[in-house]
Symmetry: C2
Subunit: 271 residues, 2 copies
């Protein structure tokens, strides 16, 4: 039987990876990331998760409700139990839900390894310069909802495994494959090499989204709400706009992405 390990010393070295969660959010964790809360912990242990857990830290009263996660799993990580006061002292802020885990990033895959080879249908989301964790998390959630194969990120786009991005993604950051390329132009090079039609979503697009017959293989490119996609990216893509009311041309980028993914995924989805 799998037994959790009780810890009552906030300085116990086995909790080192949980120390100063917020400060470390800013500087990175050398191959690790933090998961918070039951829903995301369950996703981290689901078959669709892409990452292994290094350890789990629970308030003792959460163990009974979560022990099923460890019953049937080979190679399960240690589970530490510590009171909420100890958890909060280690993490440096109040851990109300009493559920934390450390995930291991592993090696990041190559972008092309994540998508079905041509001529199979493929739908990829490309994020260029998105530095807001809410937007990146929301786009992962939407990419998962509409069955995208992968998310590709340029170098400037922020980390989908940042705590807030994982939370806003409803855990999709743990399951949706993603990889990085250097820039928007590098994403377009990949699209060319792998027979993906590059589509740029922009309020100034020549065509409306609704008029587009979804290509069988597509890369949907999204940029920040203010400056939008770089001109050099738009010049190499079909530029699409979402029809909106006169005098209002502003949607949140994650929302605009959802509308485009809904259109592009179309017949691929469960009716």
């Amino acid at each position: 039987m799998f037994e959790p390990i009780a810890i009552d010393d906030p300085d116990d070295p086995r909790l080192a990876a949980y120390r100063f969660v917020r400060e470390r959010d800013l500087v990175g964790r050398q191959g690790r990331f933090i998961v918070e809360g039951e829903v995301t912990l369950r996703l981290l242990f689901s078959f669709s998760a892409r990452f292994a857990a290094e350890s789990v830290l629970l308030a003792p009263e959460r163990w009974a409700g979560l022990s099923d996660l460890f019953a049937q799993r080979a190679g399960r990580p240690p589970v530490y139990l510590a009171g909420r006061d100890v958890m909060s002292a280690v993490a440096g802020f109040p851990i109300h839900r009493g559920v934390l885990a450390v995930g291991l990033r592993g090696a990041e895959p190559a972008p092309a390894a994540l998508i079905p080879p041509a001529p199979a249908p493929a739908l990829v989301v490309g994020l260029v310069g998105l530095t807001n964790h809410d937007n990146v998390g929301g786009l992962f959630r939407n990419a998962a909802a509409f069955g995208a194969d992968a998310v590709w990120l340029d170098a400037e786009t922020c980390d989908p495994l940042y705590r807030k991005a994982i939370r806003v993604s409803a855990g999709a950051a743990l399951t949706m494959p993603f990889a990085r390329a250097a820039s928007g132009s590098a994403l377009l090079d990949l699209a060319e090499r792998h027979a993906l039609t590059p589509l740029a979503l922009t309020p100034g697009g020549d065509e409306t989204l609704d008029a587009l017959e979804p290509p069988s293989r597509a890369l949907l490119l999204l940029g920040t709400e203010g400056p939008g996609l770089p001109d050099a990216v738009m010049a190499r893509a079909r530029c699409l706009r979402i029809a909106m009311a006169v005098g209002f041309d502003s949607l949140n980028v994650a929302t605009a992405g959802a509308i485009a993914l809904h259109h592009l995924a179309g017949r691929r989805l469960a009716g």
Copy 2:
């Protein structure tokens, strides 16, 4: 020429409505609300705004860039200038942008007064039990983007004129007409009385959104992400679902609303 009024005493009674902004957010303001930042201030003074400003409070260096708002306006409210330290002392938290205003709610209109009478086309969004300001703000933004005529709220749905909701709405809370009814059932009574087809968006819907021919007059009902719309509401509406990938049936409610509005608005929008 319109002259702003310099104030350097945080206890000046003319600034009373700006005092303790955060604490007052929680208890209400007796017919007033607070607007923050240039974008929303400009919307409050635009022709499409539904509310009057009672006064404006600016850091002195913001005056030059905003004085155009007061040049051509009859009945303009007083503009107070105070340094950021005074503004922050009055408001009780740091006012980085140096732009605040107090708006007047006025009398709330009757729900039916906000929509075109039958048989003209009409698109109304009905929010039931939405207590998250991000979601309500996001839905106002999306309702504006897709040209909805109005938003109707049940009694439990939170205030669209709360500061955070205004900000997330990108100011649409100041321009999109809204009114309250007692409950989801009261919203359905209104729909019946005013020939609006009631549509309920729910993951368990019988029909997919895409298969629906948009009715000329519709009330789109949205509930909270967890519990969803009350059964009594769904029993009286056509229940629609958004087709999603197998194993993932979760979209943010504002995002789901945007997808449905995009479909329902369809031909009404600027191509």
